[in-house]
Structures are given as C-alpha cells and as structure tokens.
C-alpha cells in the first residue's frame, strides 16, 4: 500500500514534468509560427493603408486579437481540448489524421528500435565479455559502417533489390510497398533500425556501463560467494543502460523515420510532415511537432517506470 503510494507520487511528478515540457514545446512552436514572414495579418497590412479600427475588425475576424500571450493561451486551450485546427490543404480536422499517422509511425519506430537492439546488444556483449579481440574489432567496424550509411540510399537500395526480385523488373517503382504485402513493413523497419546513426552509440554506451558495473565491488562479492555474475550485474549493467539509451534515442529514430517514410512512401508522421512542409500547412505540422514530442515524453515516462520497478533506491526509504 505504502509502496504503491510512493510509485504514484513518483510517477505523477514525472507526468507533471512531461506536461510542462509539452507546454514548452507548444509554446516554442507557436512562437516560431508568430515569427513567420507570411502571417495572416501581413496580407491586410500589405493590402494598403487601413485604419486602426479596420485592423481590429480584421483581427477579430481571424481570431488573432489580443497580445501574443493571450493568443497562445487560446491556442493552448484548444490543444488541451484536442482541437488541433483544420488542415489548410484538405480542410479536414487535423487530429484524426494525426492519430492514424502516429500509430503507423509508432509501429515503425518500435520495430526499428528492436532491430537496433538486435544488432547492438550481441555486439556489445561479445566485445565486453568475449575473449576474441579481433572479432569484436571487426564487429564494431561493421556497426560504424551501418551507422554512417545514409538512410535514404540504403532504403533506395533495399527498394531496388525488392522490386528487382519480387516484381521481376517492371521498370516502375511500386509504391507504397506496404500496399502490396503488409510484411513489407519490415523493410523500412530494418533500414531505420540499422542505419539511424545510433547503433554504434548504443553499443558504446552498453559496453561502457556493463564494464563499469562488472568492476563494482558487489560483483566481486557475487564472484566470491560463488553466485552468478550475470544475475547480479543484469539490472544495473544491462537492463537500465539498455532502457536508458533507447529512451534517449527515440528522437533520433523519429528523425530517421521522416526520411525512411519518405523513401518508402510509408504514410506516417514523417511523410505527413514532409507533405505539409511542402504545402506550408501550418496546422498539420504544428500538430506533428506536438505529437512527436508526446511520443518522446512517453518514452521517457516509460523509462522512468522501468527505473521505478527495477531500482529499489527510488522507492525505498
């Protein structure tokens, strides 16, 4: 009972922090929008000399009356109610589109992070615990090569290879591949996971943390009492570093998703961002910024939840 209360208190403070950060994100995006050269008011001012009254009337008409702070508060209030405005391009409400694309991107992102781990963890474990230095050197070079391969090129190669083998050279690029066979979602997942530029960093971090923990006094104790080193080092030396580094890399993977979705014509957040950036569809791209930030904060919350379950130092006392 008492422990449950502690969990709740810890988590709720984390949630409050996340909400404050999301507010900051929306404020930042809003301010950038204010600085835009082509704001709606400019049209009126450029249209010719107009009187102060006429300007006010125009403002009222556009719903941009009052100071910047007041405008932001109105905007933030709308966001809280789930009102993300209407797309300038399609005229439809933004929120439903955002929800669908976010879900699609989420699938891509989670899959990609699993791929990253699948590549990084064995290499990290092998080069920390294994005894063959030459093998681990080769593996880390491979990891470096993967990390620095430009994703758009790798993605293109994969698509090229698949169209060549699967569609027996039609000369046309069949897009999007997912519409042909749902399993083709694995292609962007693998490309995003392998070359989002984080593999070598993930390996480095897990290696550092694991070898640090293996030097801890309590691991020596575990050895001295004949217990399993793996059991004693698992939480601090493996689980926490993995969760930590993956949560920290979520923004990078989402960044990579923008490119991969574009290359694979996969209709997720990144693809939507690209389209609306081209169309200067402010409402949509603002929504995307906020949804991406929500994903990042959720990953952070998840990390904190794992910490809470794993590290007794946070709840004890």
């Amino acid at each position: 009972m008492k422990i449950a209360f502690k969990y709740l208190r810890y988590l709720s403070s984390e949630i409050v922090i996340s909400l404050a950060l999301l507010m900051g994100v929306s404020l930042l995006a809003f301010m950038l929008l204010q600085a835009a050269p082509g704001s709606p008011m400019d049209m009126y001012i450029q249209a010719g000399s107009i009187s102060a009254e006429e300007l006010d009337a125009a403002r009222q008409e556009l719903g941009v009356q009052g100071g910047v702070i007041k405008q932001y508060l109105i905007y933030a209030g709308k966001l809280c109610r789930g009102d993300f405005g209407f797309s300038a391009e399609t005229g439809k409400p933004v929120l439903p589109v955002l929800l669908i694309t976010t879900w699609r991107t989420l699938k891509l992102t989670i899959g990609a992070m699993l791929v990253t781990l699948l590549i990084a963890v064995p290499i990290a474990l092998f080069s920390t615990l294994g005894s063959r230095a030459r093998g681990s050197a080769l593996l880390s070079v491979i990891a470096y090569l993967l990390s620095s391969a430009p994703m758009f090129w790798l993605g293109y190669l994969v698509i090229f290879g698949v169209t060549r083998t699967y569609f027996s050279f039609t000369g046309e690029r069949v897009m999007p591949l997912v519409s042909v066979n749902p399993w083709f979602i694995l292609l962007p997942i693998v490309v995003l996971g392998a070359s989002n530029g984080t593999v070598s960093e993930v390996i480095r971090y897990i290696k550092e943390q694991l070898s640090r923990v293996l030097r801890e006094d309590y691991i020596r104790t575990a050895r001295a009492k004949g217990s399993s080193v793996i059991k004693h080092a698992f939480k601090e030396g493996f689980l926490i570093p993995v969760v930590n580094v993956m949560a920290a890399k979520v923004p990078y993977v989402l960044s990579g998703a923008v490119i991969v979705e574009q290359v694979f014509n996969y209709e997720g957040l990144g693809n939507l961002a690209w389209v609306s950036a081209q169309n200067r569809d402010y409402a949509v791209i603002l929504g995307i910024v906020i949804f991406a930030a929500i994903l990042v904060r959720l990953a952070d919350l998840l990390k904190n939840l794992v910490y809470l379950l794993v590290n007794p130092r946070l709840t004890a006392r």
């Binding site: 104790t221 001295a224 004949g226 217990s227």
Partner: protein
C-alpha cells in the same frame, strides 16, 4: 624448490604431502603482478609469498596499505581480474586428507622471461586462465571459502534485498531449498546481533548503517559454513566503537564455528586480538611470520624483523602513553612498487642496518630465515654465516 613456513625446504611432491599434514590451506611462492601502462613497469603486488593455515586458526596479514595483503587474499580466491594477475605459485587446499593445487595448470598460461631474478617480460593468456580457474574455484567459493570485504555498503548488491542475498548464499552453500534457506538466513541475522531480523531481510544495503551492513555481510559469508573465511579489512572505514563490536563478533564466531580466518588489516590491535599467527607484509613479501605473541611480543627483545619493530614502535603502547613519549614513525616513504630496491626491499628505511650485513642487504634479497619455533624472518640480521 619450495619454502615452507618453518623454513624446511621441500623439493618433491612426497615431501609436500607430508608438510601438508594438518594444514587446511597452504600458499607457496605466490606471485601476482600488475602492469602500470603509464610507467610501463610491473607492479609486483605479491612476490614470493608463502604461508599456511590450519583449521580453526586465524592467520593475520598485516602491513601498510599497498603492501599486497588484499591482493594475496584475492589471489587465493581467484578474484584477481586485472592483467597480468597471478603468475606463479601454488595454493594447496586440503580436505579429507586429499590436497589439490588450486593454481594447477597455471604455467601453461604464463611465460616469464627473467633477468637477474627480476621478471622483465611476460605473456599471459589471462581470459582463458580465468575461465579455467573459475571452473576449479566454482565449487569452493561460497561453500568452502567465503570472503568479507572492506566497504560493506558498496560490496552488497543494491538491487537485491539483504535477505535475498543471504538466502542465495545459503541455497548455494548448504544446498538448501528456498523456504529452509529463508529460515536459516533469519537465524544468521539474529546470530550477528541484528535487531528485527525479519524486517531487515526486506531492506537494502543503502538503508543500513555501515556496521549493520558489515554484520549482514558476515552472516552472508558464514551462512554456508565455510572452512575458510577471508576477512579483507573488515573493520576499516567503520567507527571505532563498531570496529570493536565487529571484532568481538568475529572472535565469537571463530570459537563457535571453528572456521579458519585469513584476516587482513593494517590495524595491529585488531590483528593482536584475533590472530593466532601473524604475517607481516612489506612490498609484496611476508617479511616476518610466526605465532602472534612472538611477532608482537616485544619492541626489542624478540628476534623480530626491523620492519615489525618499526611498525610496533609507531603505535602508542601503554607505557608510552603514560610517559608521554613521542611515537616513532618509520623513516622514509612507502616504496614505489614499480621501482623496488635490488636487495632487501626494506633496506632504504631500515633503522637497524649494521656494518656486518650492510653490503648483503644492499645487493641480495634475504631468504627466509628460521629464527624460532615456527617463526621466520626475511632479514640478513639473522643469517648464521
């Protein structure tokens, strides 16, 4: 050629077996080196160390920090992970009349190149040696040997409760089922005078005081009823009052459980209270060893090593406190382990150099001389020639 503690020289395995007679553990010519990448030189942490322990006896290793006491203990347990690590020697463990060399096969992994009795170059396959050695040590660690460490707080895993860690030891050490092990763990906590043992079982090391943690660790180490307990600076870093509580506890448990203790400390008082035999270490060597009262006897009367004499003189004795006399520190500094003198390692700081042996001290390392019953010294003063 093997030097035994009483100075006799055994050359063959048969002789070895006879000298093993009633010993529990016999360490012979143990050598453990590290390598300083920075200066490119060997750190001769343990060099040619030999001693033996009998069941139920306490052997105290004393010396300044950096003299190689802890590394000796870690070498015996096979816990030296840094390269190059253990290089040579034997660790003979005897049980039921059978003795095994725990370092068997070590020469296959090590190649030494020596010049003037000093190792100048060596190569070792440490990863595979540790693997092979771990296989050999696995059934002994936590069953026959166990160990307690300095800094009990960092030596307990902060991710498991105290209870879980003790239960784990009991389950492995006594081959018990979890339920039974839990009962025993509580008993052990009570035995080391921890209040509310059931509640403490649920706590983590970071919630306990240093003294309490050390007691829990002692419970964890003894829970498997080992034949040999290695206590590496068990009282260092604790408050003086708690220090004496821990020493009393160890004394009591030693009497009750008849466990042999290898006690490592730089605190001569602690060693005086607990040990039956004492080895005085300096620069990786045991300079003097013998029954505890002989070694600690007198400040001048016994045939002691100059280093032991210096060490004892630097302590406030009763009469000195009364007279208000000044304490004598040993002159000079702790030696640079990467650059030890050629002859006697203590020569530069020795206060008892005499013209008779001065030249020998400078150029030749003294062998182990027998100076009394079970009492040996590595000092040219006691040469008969």
């Amino acid at each position: 050629m093997v030097l035994t503690r009483d100075g006799a020289r055994a050359t063959s395995n048969e002789q070895l077996a006879t000298t093993m007679m009633n010993a529990l553990l016999k360490v012979q010519n143990l050598r453990t080196y590290f390598f300083s990448k920075r200066s490119g030189r060997f750190i001769r942490a343990v060099d040619d160390v030999s001693f033996e322990m009998r069941p139920g006896e306490t052997f105290g290793l004393v010396g300044e920090s950096g003299s190689g006491k802890s590394v000796t203990a870690l070498s015996v347990m096979g816990l030296v992970r840094d390269e190059p690590g253990v290089l040579a020697g034997r660790v003979l463990y005897q049980e039921n009349g059978k003795s095994v060399n725990l370092l068997e096969g070590l020469p296959n992994y090590v190649k030494l190149e020596q010049r003037d009795a000093e190792v100048t170059r060596l190569s070792k396959d440490n990863t595979n040696w540790l693997k092979a050695h771990d296989v050999k040590m696995k059934p002994l660690r936590g069953r026959k040997f166990s160990m307690i460490f300095q800094n009990p707080k960092s030596s307990m895993n902060p991710y498991f409760t105290i209870g879980d860690q003790i239960i784990e030891s009991v389950m492995w050490g006594c081959r018990k089922k979890r339920e039974e092990a839990k009962k025993q763990a509580v008993d052990w906590l009570r035995r080391v005078y921890i209040d509310l043992p059931e509640r403490r079982m649920q706590e983590y090391s970071f919630n306990l005081s240093g003294g309490m943690c050390q007691r829990a660790m002692i419970a964890m180490a003894l829970a498997c009823r080992p034949k040999l307990l290695i206590a590496d600076e068990p009282t260092t870093g604790l408050d003086a009052t708690i220090q004496s509580v821990i020493v009393d506890l160890l004394l009591e448990l030693k009497r009750e459980l008849k466990v042999a203790i290898l006690l490592i400390t730089h605190n001569i008082e602690v060693i005086g209270r607990l040990s039956d035999y004492i080895g005085v270490m300096y620069a990786g060597r045991i300079m003097e060893s013998g029954p505890s009262d002989t070694v600690l006897k007198g400040r001048r009367t016994a045939r002691n090593h100059p280093y032991t004499i210096g060490l004892l003189q630097s302590l406030p004795g009763e009469d000195q406190v009364k007279r208000g006399a000044r304490l004598k520190a040993i002159a000079g500094d702790v030696p640079d382990v990467t650059d030890l003198p050629v002859g006697c390692k203590f020569y530069p700081r020795c206060a008892l150099k005499t013209p008779r042996v001065d030249k020998k001290c400078k150029t030749q390392e003294p062998p182990v001389f027998k100076v009394g019953k079970g009492h040996t010294c590595r000092c040219w003063l006691y040469t008969t020639k």
